[in-house]
């Protein structure tokens, strides 16, 4: 086993994150957060961006960290909360809303699963001075659940359901996350993917061609696949 902990940079800072905190982050760094974060995904984006509803809390004064997540949490009849595990959901699906969301919310950090495209980083994140943190694994629900100290509020639980609602959490030593994109729009996933891609052709070298082709090998719908 390689001794990872000595070699990967590890940082911890407060939310709302300052431009200086964000500027120090390098792709592949390990990050822990303290402060307030909120969840937001298609349900929230739809309401705010498509339907023009007001964001129900003071952003970015309260927080500039948007978590793509639905917690495994229940709202009790007496209005209290039971938060179990917390895990991110795949972020690439939210690409079309991110530009507008940065404008409206002032978010500087997006936490999610799997990153977004290099294109999105360059076109949307870099101009907004924002970076992307990916959760690790991705099933670190229990570790992240531990980092949540308190549910401050839940918005639109009724209208959107618990999974899509906007949860506002107070967090402590919340992580680990890995920096996927930095302020220049470099991407860890993109860089790692390119290293792996270099080897892919050779895996297929000894395999005979398939009896029947399929879509994916051609993108011309008029081609016969035989």
């Amino acid at each position: 086993m390689v001794a990872v902990d000595q070699r990967l940079q590890q940082v911890r800072f407060k939310v709302p994150a300052t431009p200086e905190d964000i500027a120090t982050l390098k792709i592949g760094s390990i990050v822990y957060l303290d402060g307030v974060i909120y969840t937001g995904r298609e349900g929230v984006y739809n309401r705010v961006i498509e339907q023009g509803e007001r964001i129900p809390l003071e952003l970015p004064a309260v927080s500039n960290v948007n978590f793509h997540c639905s917690p495994a949490a229940a709202i009790e009849p007496d209005g209290s909360y039971n938060v179990g595990g917390v895990t991110a959901t795949a972020s690439f699906r939210f690409s079309k809303w991110m530009g507008k969301w940065f404008e409206l919310s002032g978010a500087k950090i997006i936490i999610g699963k799997g990153g977004m495209s290099g294109q999105d980083y360059r076109d949307l994140f870099v101009p907004a001075g924002a970076i992307y943190l990916t959760t690790v694994g991705y099933g670190t629900g229990a570790l992240l659940g531990r980092g949540i100290k308190r549910v401050i509020d839940v918005f639109w639980a009724e209208e959107l359901g618990n999974a899509q609602a906007m949860w506002v959490f107070e967090v402590q030593n919340f992580g680990p996350f890995l920096v996927d994109s930095d302020l220049e729009g470099n991407s860890l996933f993109e860089q790692q993917g390119q290293l792996i891609n270099a080897n892919l052709e050779s895996l297929y070298a000894d395999l005979k061609p398939p009896a029947l082709s399929r879509f994916g090998e051609t993108d011309n719908r008029k081609d016969e696949l035989i």
Partner: protein, 312 residues
């Protein structure tokens, strides 16, 4: 007669175990992969996962907040008699699902496919899925629950006999590479490969191979067992580890299940059971006594028989 309440409670209990406690066979495989992994990023991910399993068990909280699509596999002894019959048994499983969703809690993932209606209890039209099988000469009922994340890692392809083993390898590589990028499949995975059957049966077999056999289990046919190991090694030679980082930890184990199929074809399905490989089983004995385990023992000589008659 097995009391209704006993079945409902057992069904609830395994939902809790599945959501929180990683099966030891899978945990051990991640420890071993972390030992051999040379990439520091991949190794960091594996070590974080191991830490996460510990936190889940210590805090009694779900290991992954995406508690997947909770569902049941039921194996009924030919001599087992559930109170109220099988309609009551299905009701018990639906009731346990709703109760577990609130009490553990599980994420209420289940929604109507078109209207996105969420009843907040993981129950709905055709949900939870309940798969049935039978076992001769016994009077117990085995309940297994699986919480599998659902969006990435599953694919189907109609291959042809002429494609042979090369075709199987090609499709496996295609699927693992496609879903492994950025770690969308949350690998290292227990990979299930379904071969043969009709298209729907092929999907079911592959899914069960991934979710209902433990790491280290080998198919009883030695030639299939050998192919399982060969395909596992192939998956780990891609050069991809967890989260799609450079690495060698892609496949924790690989299981193949076969079914007799159309003479002109060789349908194949691939399924990946993720870093939160959650399964738990309870055996409900005729006297209501409960026995828990993490090995579903779903496939048996009986379920894999190829004869008309059954004899032990």
């Amino acid at each position: 007669m097995i009391p209704y309440d006993c079945i409902e409670q057992a069904a609830f209990n395994i939902m809790e175990r599945a959501a929180i406690d990683i099966p030891e066979d899978y945990r051990q495989s991640i420890v071993e992969l972390a030992d051999t992994e040379q990439s520091e990023l991949s190794c960091f991910v594996l070590k974080t996962m191991i830490e996460n399993y510990g936190a889940a068990t210590a805090d009694r909280r779900p290991m992954c907040a995406d508690t997947g699509l909770p569902r049941y596999y039921v194996k009924v002894g030919n001599d087992a008699r559930p109170e109220g019959g099988f309609i009551a048994l299905e009701k018990a499983l639906r009731s346990a699902t709703a109760r577990a969703t609130h009490d553990i809690p599980l994420r209420p993932n289940r929604v109507h496919p078109l209207w996105r209606t969420d009843l907040n209890n993981n129950v709905g039209i055709n949900a939870p899925e309940i798969d049935w099988s039978f076992e001769p000469d016994v009077d117990w009922i085995d309940l297994t629950t699986v919480h599998k994340g659902g969006l990435f890692g599953t694919d189907y392809r109609m291959l042809f006999p002429g494609d042979g083993i090369d075709g199987i390898k090609r499709f496996l590589l295609d699927a693992l590479i496609a879903f492994g990028k950025r770690g969308l499949a949350c690998q290292p995975a227990i990979v299930g490969v379904g071969l043969g059957g009709s298209k729907d049966a092929c999907m079911v077999l592959g899914k069960q191979a991934a979710c209902l056999r433990i790491v280290g289990d080998r198919h009883p046919d030695p030639k299939i067992a050998k192919l399982e190991m060969e395909l596992k090694d192939l998956g780990n030679s891609i050069g991809m580890g967890p989260m799609g980082f450079v690495g060698s930890s892609m496949v924790a184990d690989l299981h193949i299940e076969v079914g007799y199929t159309h003479t002109g074809g060789m349908p194949m399905s691939v399924h990946t059971f993720c870093l939160a490989s959650r399964r738990a089983t309870v055996r409900i004995h005729a006297d209501g006594h409960l026995e828990y385990r993490t090995d579903p023992q779903w496939f048996s000589k009986y379920s894999r028989r190829e004869t008309v008659e059954w004899s032990q």
